[in-house]
Symmetry: C2
Subunit: 347 residues, 2 copies
């Protein structure tokens, strides 16, 4: 790489001090005659000068970098989240460092420490999609490092700014909707029991049953791991256990903890020669493109990842700029996409 052009070279070239060049670069007004200014801009152009962000950061103690930590770039919720953060943050001059953890607590911890102490001005960390270890987050927050969590739960996080999704309410509403459509026996395929949001969704499902005077039947509830294959497997087990003599299932709907498992369930249902939604209505969760693309369409729940990302960025940047110290906590409400995707049953 050809010799680096520094602010000194510009100062020399245009016959001013580095102070003046720096002021111009940072648009500090009123310290420079128009004529001098022009000379400096010319020199910058001529030498093709670009100030070093690193050097600037060392003195300003800000990098304008935001760390975003999540477990899985293939998951559309996190894609949405990233887009939301980016949309908000890029307008304010921040760039994003994206860290993929594969759900590993160790990676999560490494990234957190790595990004926190040095490199970024703040961090947005979402759920690990598994068992969340929050100790490092709490540590950092206590030390005053700007950090915002998304979909992480735990009493220890109560002072940390956070973005949450109403998981329980979401599944309750789905059950209510199904009930109104005449469904009385509903199966459930849960995400991994280590993931808080999976637990909450399952709780919501059970609450929903109770609210409608239905009782939970354990042979209709299976535990998967948020992957498609587990949706297939769980559906197989449920169908094996719950068929009427006539070859028809003794339940009329299945809810899965996410869209991928719901799609897995669909595969099994179709393989068994059953129809969706005529024999079984299927509802996923996440509002992914997949739910719209597959035929027949399945019901799903939109989480609003983009808006959650924007809000997370807003909270974080306020923290960074120490504005607005009021409590930062928001619960995002579900948007149900069920219309036309659920069979209505005469009751």
């Amino acid at each position: 790489m050809s010799k680096k052009v520094t602010i000194r070279d510009i100062a020399k070239e245009s016959g001013v001090s580095t102070t003046t060049v720096s002021r111009l670069l940072n648009h500090v007004e009123g310290y420079c005659s128009k004529e001098t200014e022009q000379r400096v801009w010319n020199a910058i152009e001529r030498l093709n000068y670009h100030p070093s962000k690193i050097a600037r950061s060392l003195v300003t103690q800000r990098t304008n970098l935001i760390g975003v930590i999540f477990p899985d770039i293939y998951n559309s919720f996190f894609q949405d989240l990233f887009r939301g953060v980016e949309e908000y943050a890029s307008k304010l001059g921040y760039q994003l460092i994206l860290c993929n953890t594969d759900g590993s607590s160790k990676k999560e911890r490494d990234y957190l420490l790595n990004l926190a102490e040095n490199l970024t001005d703040g961090i947005i960390i979402s759920t690990s999609n598994g068992e969340d270890d929050n100790t490092t987050i709490v540590d950092l927050h206590k030390r005053g490092f700007p950090i915002v969590t998304v979909e992480r739960y735990g009493e220890e996080l109560k002072d940390v700014p956070r973005i949450l999704f109403a998981n329980r309410e979401a599944e309750e509403q789905v059950v209510n909707y199904l009930y109104r459509c005449g469904h009385r026996r509903i199966a459930y395929i849960s995400g991994p029991p280590t993931a808080t949001n999976a637990i909450r969704r399952l709780e919501g499902f059970k609450n929903g049953l109770k609210q409608n005077g239905l009782s939970a039947d354990n042979s209709l509830i299976m535990t998967g791991n948020y992957k498609m294959e587990s949706g297939q497997d769980c559906m197989r087990k449920i169908l094996d256990a719950c068929m009427h003599k006539g070859g028809k299932p003794d339940f009329s709907a299945v809810i899965a903890g996410n869209d991928l498992m719901a799609i897995g369930a669909c595969k099994t249902i179709l393989e068994r020669g059953l129809r969706i939604p005529d024999d079984i209505s299927v509802v996923g969760c996440d509002g992914t493109m997949l739910a719209d693309l597959i035929r027949p369409k399945i019901g799903t729940i939109r989480l609003g990842g983009i808006d959650m990302g924007k809000k997370a960025a807003e909270y974080l940047i306020n923290e960074i700029r120490s504005q607005n110290t009021e409590e930062k906590k928001v619960l995002f409400q579900p948007e149900l996409l069920l219309e036309g995707r659920i069979k209505s049953i005469e009751t």
Copy 2:
């Protein structure tokens, strides 16, 4: 944020010089007695010291940051690419800054300059999915800045390390396969004519026809924009123009420039009451999860985004470390996923 702990504090605390602390931190061997070393580690632990990456970068002139620029985080090819880069680069201690351009040349240019001159040690930039402006890339490369391109074409890039996909060959092979299955009239839905890879795929399609003694029929070729809706639209137009009296189409297969458009085409086909693949076989391109998930399955072409990402990272890191100055150019070959997804026609 509580007062920052610096290397000075550690030096003072453990009664050595900052030089010694620095050496320990950087694992420069043989400059420290075991006993002193222990004192230093203790102090680091006690004060919870984390060295500033920024300060280090200023003196070493390296940030261990790699910029990754692509147009669309929702596109699975770029997700694969990112994963590949990450897998390779993270092992060597690099972190990634991800920049989403939405296909905008201006954003692309801004990110390039922004990342290049200051922040990152090198950049991997993929196609913009539209008309690619390569001038900034060439500039940076000439100045000796490490940069690797993925799926960007143009004579001006001939000296820049690059990762390419055999777009032409891919579609040629698809046509050959379809021909062997007995297909004689094949429709094509192209990506945007501003995108070089779309052009090449279309060329490959036409080459394939020619190689098999078939002639291109313009009423069977439509231009979309890589989005699903355009696949639907194009398919509609083709069907409107090319139906036999009996309500059956006068072609037996359609190839789309990517999976999303292929899925759009499927929707239209099914809406018209036609069957896949019995009436029309469908082939996309990208090897996305979508192609496997939708029913009926459609044919597709795997690009190998993860491997391309790994190779890109390898090239880039070699450039950064000035190793291995031989020509860096590789053409990735397609892997066809057509088995069992194409109708065989008696001829």
